[in-house]
Symmetry: C2
Subunit: 217 residues, 2 copies
């Protein structure tokens, strides 16, 4: 291990090792309980080198959030083939999302849990990621509505609301799946598709659930 | 105003006034930016009295979270009539939820946003509320599955996943609705029912969305 430690490496490689260690420690222990000593030790570098490269615990945490947010968004985008039918695109996007969150549980805990519970600066980083994912899903739902040719005028506001609902459902399910032993990404995706697609699919075809009249008790 | 300030009131009433003011200030400014001076002024009491009754800013914030979590949960429970059909129960529960979050936007910001972004102690309070709501929704979905008599054996794990998805979708939509001018609680409820019910309804009747085979690209 000493040999590995002292090997000369490009700064970019060292930084990624530090971030790997930081995501693991932050994800498993939370921001407050994570120590820079433990992160340096896990990364196989000295603590001063971590400070030299990443500046502070705050900056290190921010760098973790940004790297993991970018990776998650890239995974979802890569999973979707724009030429395929809308339900297949949704399936592929959700499968990519749940595969990534299941494969990187510490990263998901950083993004979904810890980044939101330690102040407005970190929360803002995650909000930016979320806005990108919602915009992506909104485009997907809007495209699906146009493809269906039945409700090309599905109101913009309704589409925005549906995208919010879908993203909220996916976030919630990812946390649940990672905390529930034996649930695969494929099963989680199937649960959300079963929940969402028949509903979305009906909407696209102009079939709506009819609410009771407002004045009825 | 001086007359109101100096009027003798039972401690319980004064405490509720302080909590009303605190929820408003915490909700609009966040935990860090909220000042005890402003909360005392808005409540029409002296700052020492706030400390005497509620002890500290942390304890005041915790008291706000508990009061508002209890009120939200009570509103949802009260909205649902157990004898009605499953889709009507879901509609009523969601309408009660969105009516409450729309009518108490500061309280919802405290619960959904601020309580989760300022440390693990506050986050744990909200997690407890969320667990109760998920348990309530799980019961509702399980009952609906039994009522439908078509899939009485809908796996427990699937029901738990569906409840997580639904609660996550509702949380996400409530934040979006409160940030989007002109959206009513009824419209938000209709959006989520349209998204969810046809999907849930299909599942209850044993109709599932069929995923592509795993080995296919």
């Amino acid at each position: 291990m000493g040999a590995v430690k002292t090997k000369r490496m490009p700064r970019a490689v060292r930084e990624q090792q530090m971030l790997d260690a930081a995501v693991q420690i932050f994800g498993q222990r939370g921001y407050m309980a994570a120590s820079m000593d433990d992160i340096a030790e896990l990364a196989g570098v000295s603590k001063p080198l971590v400070y030299l490269y990443l500046n502070s615990k705050d900056d290190l945490f921010t760098a973790c959030i940004r790297r993991e947010a970018t990776a998650l968004l890239a995974a979802v985008r890569l999973g979707v083939v724009p030429e395929l039918p809308a339900d297949r695109q949704l399936w592929d996007g959700l499968l990519a999302f749940f595969t990534h969150t299941a494969g990187h549980p510490d990263a998901w805990r950083v993004l979904h849990l810890h980044a939101r519970t330690h102040g407005e600066r970190f929360a803002a980083e995650v909000t930016a990621l979320r806005a990108e994912i919602v915009a992506f899903v909104t485009g997907l739902i809007a495209a699906a509505a146009r493809d269906a040719h039945r409700d090309p005028d599905l109101p913009e506001r309704e589409v925005a609301g549906l995208a919010e609902a879908l993203v909220g459902a996916a976030e919630s399910l990812a946390a649940w799946a990672n905390a529930t032993p034996g649930v695969t990404a494929r099963q989680t995706t199937a649960t959300l598709m079963n929940f969402a697609w028949a509903g979305l699919g009906s909407l696209m075809e102009g079939r709506q659930w009819t609410p009771p009249p407002p004045d009825q008790p």
